[in-house]
């Protein structure tokens, strides 16, 4: 059966797209797939050369990583607390701040908005020493509050500016209508603005949580034995004498889990954030 030329051209185009997508996917998936394979081997199998294709999978490494002598479980909980607290505080503080930047007539609004971003402009490595000195001085090294405050200095500017762009998208008339309906500012924010930026809040929550969860540079310097996030704890498997690759892989995969769960769960929320509009001639983007 002969294909007509249009169909053939389309097939060729699609084939090229699929190959390109497959290559990109491969680059992304191989390290994770490799980690999964490694985590199911014994330490000696990992180092065997040539690599063994056929082996007896074992969950031993996961047991060790969770409950063994190098257990990351308590660090996992620590990371969970740090990330959740950072996220909650960020959202609580960023929403009113973003609303103010988006809507209120503030003196010095422009410079304020600019300097909010100052931590994003300095190379993070340059901030480690001042942060260390400050936390040391006030006795907050290796503490939850110390790390959370440091995380906030990065998550807040980011969250504020992300939320500002969502809030600015809401037509002013909508708020003015609410004011005329006798709603005060707080009621307007609560009943009119927030429901419409749900999607934006969800996106912000995900990014802030993800960044806090993945944070390593500051944690490794400012934490200690007491408050040790999972990113730092994973280094227990790396020592001068040896690297326990299989256990490290298992630990890393466990540490990845919350992010994957959140990503999948939030996908729907993000799409939902694109609410259909009330204003004639346009929906909310």
């Amino acid at each position: 059966m002969a294909l007509n030329p249009h169909k053939a051209a389309r097939l060729r185009r699609n084939a090229v797209l699929y190959v390109a997508a497959a290559i990109l996917l491969l680059i992304w998936v191989v390290p994770i797939a490799w980690a999964v394979v490694v985590s199911l081997k014994t330490e000696s199998e990992v180092l065997a050369y040539p690599p063994q294709i056929v082996f007896h999978p074992t969950l031993e490494n996961y047991r060790d990583a969770l409950t063994g002598s190098f257990s990351i479980l308590s660090s996992f909980v620590t990371s969970l607390i740090l990330s959740s607290a950072t996220t909650v505080l960020t959202i609580l503080l960023a929403i009113p701040a973003a609303y103010a930047f988006a809507r209120l007539r503030l003196p010095a609004k422009k410079p304020l908005g600019f300097y909010t971003l100052v931590t994003q402009m300095i190379p993070p490595i340059g901030l480690i020493i001042p942060y260390f000195l400050i936390l040391n001085k006030i006795g907050w090294l290796d503490s939850y509050q110390g790390l959370i405050v440091v995380f906030l200095t990065f998550s807040l500017p980011f969250a504020i500016w992300l939320m500002v762009s969502y809030m600015e998208d809401i037509p002013r008339e909508m708020e003015e209508a609410a004011f005329l309906d006798k709603a005060n500012r707080f009621q307007t924010l609560w009943h009119i603005i927030l429901p419409q930026v749900r999607g934006g809040i969800a996106v912000t929550v995900i990014f802030v949580f993800l960044n806090a969860w993945n944070e390593f540079l500051f944690s490794v310097q400012l934490s200690g034995n007491h408050v040790r996030p999972v990113t730092v704890a994973m280094y227990n498997f790396v020592s001068v004498e040896q690297t326990l690759w299989a256990k490290l892989a298992a630990a890393a995969l466990v540490a990845m889990l919350p992010m994957i769960v959140i990503g999948v769960a939030a996908q729907k929320q993000i799409v939902k954030g694109l609410t259909i509009g009330a204003v004639k001639g346009g929906g909310r983007r």
Binding site: M174, L180, D181, A183, Q196, V279
Partner: protein, 354 residues
């Protein structure tokens, strides 16, 4: 309700946006229960005036009073005004029922009473069958009705409408216009209506204010504004098409335009020299060969009437013919002007003479 009548007085209202002078000293008295239109081209300050009345914009100087009480700096919520926005400003995440009920909820009305009041308001604008939909699922006309219902669900002291019909198609606009008038009669509330459409203002309003360049140039009933425009600018704005404005001279109760003379027995005494003469297209007639000769440029068939564009020398004159006839373009017709319907304006002050 007894002492709440809804008399609005604005005096000396100035408002600048940066270097743009949006309002240049507005004085306005709106009577209780009046249907009052703010009419003007875009950028003339009518919407800004409405926003000052609503409390959404504070004037730079001037005062606003409602029933004698100074509310210049009162917040929108304190003024007990309801407003329909040009783009309706419905809350997209709420159902119509929640949209209409929102002002009641914010006003602290008992939860038990809200559903009945919402239904009542929805019934008045015929959307009571749509209460569980969201704004995004409605047509433009239905959204507009929802905005109206949200405004009338409580008993506002002032009812403000900002170009409420401009987003509707022509047919729906005519229907809604009638309904707005009916709604106003049943509500018995002072209604202030912003529009750039003079026909809309003429048909719907009890009185109107005409805005040009941040100033009110005339206040009056539609008849007054139509029959006695007090400046050249109002004359050039009101009427579709507006009146013909032709420069001429007044000499001994005669109007001279080029070589033509027209006796004006009613011309105001003392009027002399250069004037701008205005006459509506419906007051220009076709006549016999003793009339002023004019060349036909274009004829527009309007169904029941015709609009003729004619040239007298360098001037184009429009004529409305109450019947439809066949003309050939370029032919010469003869015109007569009804002296009783000639308006005279001073070309320097631009004001009406007499």
């Amino acid at each position: 309700m007894s002492d709440e009548k809804g008399r609005v007085s604005l005096s000396g209202i100035h408002k600048n946006f940066g270097s743009f002078r949006a309002l240049k000293g507005i004085d306005l008295e709106i009577e209780p229960r009046e249907f009052f239109a703010l009419l003007g081209p875009s950028g003339s300050g009518k919407s800004t005036t409405l926003r000052v009345i609503a409390g959404l914009e504070a004037p730079d100087t001037g005062t606003m009073k409602v029933d004698g009480a100074d509310v210049t700096y009162a917040s929108p919520g304190e003024r007990n005004v309801a407003m329909v926005f040009q783009n309706y400003a419905l809350y997209p995440h709420m159902t119509l029922e929640q949209n209409i009920g929102f002002p009641l909820k914010m006003d602290g009305v008992s939860k038990k009473l809200i559903p009945d009041m919402v239904k009542e308001a929805a019934r008045k604008v015929k959307i009571d069958h749509l209460l569980h939909r969201r704004p995004g699922q409605l047509s433009g006309g239905q959204q507009q009705r929802c905005a109206l219902a949200r405004a009338i669900v409580r008993k506002p002291r002032l009812f403000l409408l900002d170009e409420p019909l401009s987003n509707l198609d022509a047919q729906l606009r005519l229907e809604t216009r009638v309904e707005l008038k009916r709604l106003h009669q049943s509500m018995d509330v002072t209604t202030i209506y912003v529009t750039h459409d003079q026909e809309e203002a003429m048909t719907i309003a009890d009185r109107m204010a005409i805005f040009l360049d941040g100033d009110i140039v005339q206040v009056g009933t539609p008849e007054e504004v139509f029959n006695r425009p007090n400046t050249i600018d109002v004359a050039a704005f009101i009427g579709s098409p507006p009146m013909n404005l032709i420069p001429g001279r007044i000499e001994e109760r005669n109007l001279a335009v080029g070589d033509h003379r027209l006796e004006l027995p009613d011309a105001p005494t003392g009027a002399s020299g250069e004037v701008i003469a205005g006459i509506r297209p419906s007051h220009v007639r076709l006549t016999g060969v003793d009339g002023v000769p004019a060349r036909l440029l274009l004829s527009e068939n309007l169904g029941e009437s015709m609009l003729l564009n004619l040239a007298i020398g360098d001037h184009v004159v429009k004529l409305r013919l109450p019947e439809v006839r066949r003309f050939s373009e370029g032919e010469t017709l003869h015109l007569a002007f009804d002296p009783a319907h000639i308006h005279l304006f001073d070309p320097t002050t631009r004001r009406r003479i007499g």
